[in-house]
């Protein structure tokens, strides 16, 4: 049974209420994992930011990474699509060895979507142009095709009437949803999110998380750095806890919340949940 079957047999409201443990992750047998991180080290000068991280993310899996500020979450996630270099270790993403000269990073990046804290929409382009830019210039799609795709995605993220607006004319939540649509337009095999809601006003967080939740339910492979534990409970298959450059705990979501093993994870959880 796959996730598609579940969805077909339930109403959308039921899906939203459904706990993550009920979900069946369509891990395709025999296929290589989407992301394999092994023994990853990185330093900025004398400061060691990643101290031998190991993490495997299967296809279709949703992994939430949390941890205190400065623990290396952004650095780790940026290594995955080669925006940051690492010093030692191995990193294979969708069959591509990241960090090796011969690897075609450009085409890998086109297949991996990324959404960051500050949206980073292109301010000189309209919403529609934002979503079409890489489709046309990287994937070489025709303008018509790109626009059709863009409009469909705008409808999907709930902004069908904003295609002519400039980013500065949108609220933060709307901008972030456009940023998600822009990443999805590239038909990514996986999505990376780096604190997608941390720059948003509280009343806008929900609308962005709802889009991400739906994406997770559709079977997208996702690595999400976030402190939204409600989202983690609903969407994540596993939660990863990082501290001081190391992955301290990796556990299935339910287990992570019910019985975290690492002391630092317990402390972190109690702090963040009491807020």
């Amino acid at each position: 049974m796959t996730k598609a079957h579940i969805q077909a047999s339930r109403t959308p409201a039921e899906i939203v209420e459904m706990p993550a443990s009920v979900r069946v992750v369509p891990i395709s047998q025999g296929r290589k994992p989407m992301v394999e991180i092994s023994k990853l080290y990185k330093s900025y000068g004398p400061i060691e930011v990643l101290k031998g991280c190991d993490l495997v993310v299967e296809r279709g899996e949703v992994v939430v990474i949390c941890g205190p500020s400065g623990s290396g979450k952004s650095t780790l996630i940026k290594c995955v699509n080669g925006l940051e270099r690492f010093d030692r270790g191995a990193l294979v993403v969708d069959g591509v060895r990241v960090g090796e000269r011969a690897s075609d990073m450009t085409s890998l990046r086109a297949r991996i979507g990324m959404v960051s804290q500050h949206f980073e929409l292109y301010p000189h382009l309209t919403v529609l142009q934002n979503i079409c830019l890489a489709q046309v210039h990287v994937l070489k799609r025709s303008k018509v095709e790109a626009q059709a795709k863009a409009r469909a995605l705008l409808a999907r993220v709930g902004l069908p009437d904003k295609e002519g607006a400039y980013p500065a004319q949108l609220s933060g939540g709307q901008q972030q949803r456009v940023a998600i649509a822009r990443a999805l337009a590239m038909d990514p095999v996986a999505m990376l999110f780096d604190e997608p809601t941390s720059a948003l006003d509280p009343e806008m967080i929900g609308e962005v998380l709802a889009v991400m939740l739906e994406l997770a339910r559709d079977g997208m492979t996702m690595i999400v750095v976030t402190h939204e534990m409600g989202f983690a409970r609903k969407a994540a298959d596993r939660v990863v806890f990082m501290d001081k450059g190391a992955i301290v705990e990796t556990a299935p979501t339910q287990q992570f919340f019910d019985e975290p093993r690492a002391e630092r994870a317990k402390l972190f959880l109690s702090r963040i949940l009491s807020q």
Partner: protein
């Protein structure tokens, strides 16, 4: 002060013709030098923001060379020295066969001199665009060239448009230096009218007014351009 005024001198032949041809040369030199400066300056400005050290040093050297030698001397170097240092065939062609060598030299010298200033502006404009924008572009699979062309430069140009206005104005003013290698542009022509007629007041006034009008037109043109490319802000109604 005793001085016999004669404003009509300005509209008498051949002096009116002199002024007109002077203005024409001033415009031709300035505008072609500006185009050269924009192209070369943008290239050097981009090179100066690349993530590697060697291209950045090359760009800094380029800017330093053209900024720290007086334009007049640069003009002389291009006119008198460079043809001598080239392989003899080229030098010969430059000195003997190229028509209007002084005109080409002034365009080249003024264009490259100005390109160093444009490079500094464009470079600081690119730096002013947040690093997240470059990252977003690269993350979507764009090549560095695409990131510059589609994302960074369009934003950088909007940022540097106001300061570029003053560089554009400076080109017109600096074009007067072409008179030192024998180009009869506007200032040279008025100087010539003065020495022919002793009506310096009228001649220099004419030149002053023409330069003022050029300044007003350039400023107006740049302001219009700024407004054309300005992005709507949050205050404008969302469409």
């Amino acid at each position: 002060m005793n001085y016999s005024w004669n404003w009509s001198i300005l509209i008498q032949p051949p002096y009116l013709g002199w002024l007109a041809s002077g203005l024409e040369l001033t415009l031709v030199i300035s505008i072609s030098a500006w185009i050269l400066a924009l192209i070369a300056g943008t290239l050097v400005g981009v090179v100066g923001t690349l993530p590697h050290r060697i291209p950045r040093m090359l760009a800094a050297t380029y800017v330093g060379m053209f900024r720290n030698i007086p334009l007049l001397l640069q003009l002389f170097l291009w006119f008198f020295v460079v043809p001598e240092l080239l392989p003899s065939g080229w030098g010969f062609w430059l000195k003997r066969d190229l028509p209007f060598p002084e005109l080409w030299t002034s365009m080249l010298a003024l264009g490259l001199f100005t390109s160093a200033r444009v490079a500094v502006q464009v470079g600081s404009g690119i730096t002013a665009v947040s690093s997240g924008q470059r990252m977003a572009a690269v993350a979507s699979g764009m090549s560095p060239a695409q990131a510059y062309r589609l994302v960074l430069l369009p934003q950088a140009f909007r940022i540097v448009l106001p300061p570029l206005t003053s560089d554009f104005l400076t080109v017109f003013k600096n074009s007067a230096l072409a008179l030192t290698i024998g180009v009869f542009e506007l200032t040279a022509q008025t100087r010539q009218i003065e020495s022919f007629t002793f009506q310096g007041f009228e001649a220099f006034t004419a030149a002053t007014i023409v330069y003022l009008v050029i300044a007003l037109l350039v400023t107006f043109f740049m302001r219009t351009l700024e407004r054309r490319v300005a992005l709507p802000d949050t205050m404008g109604a969302a469409s």
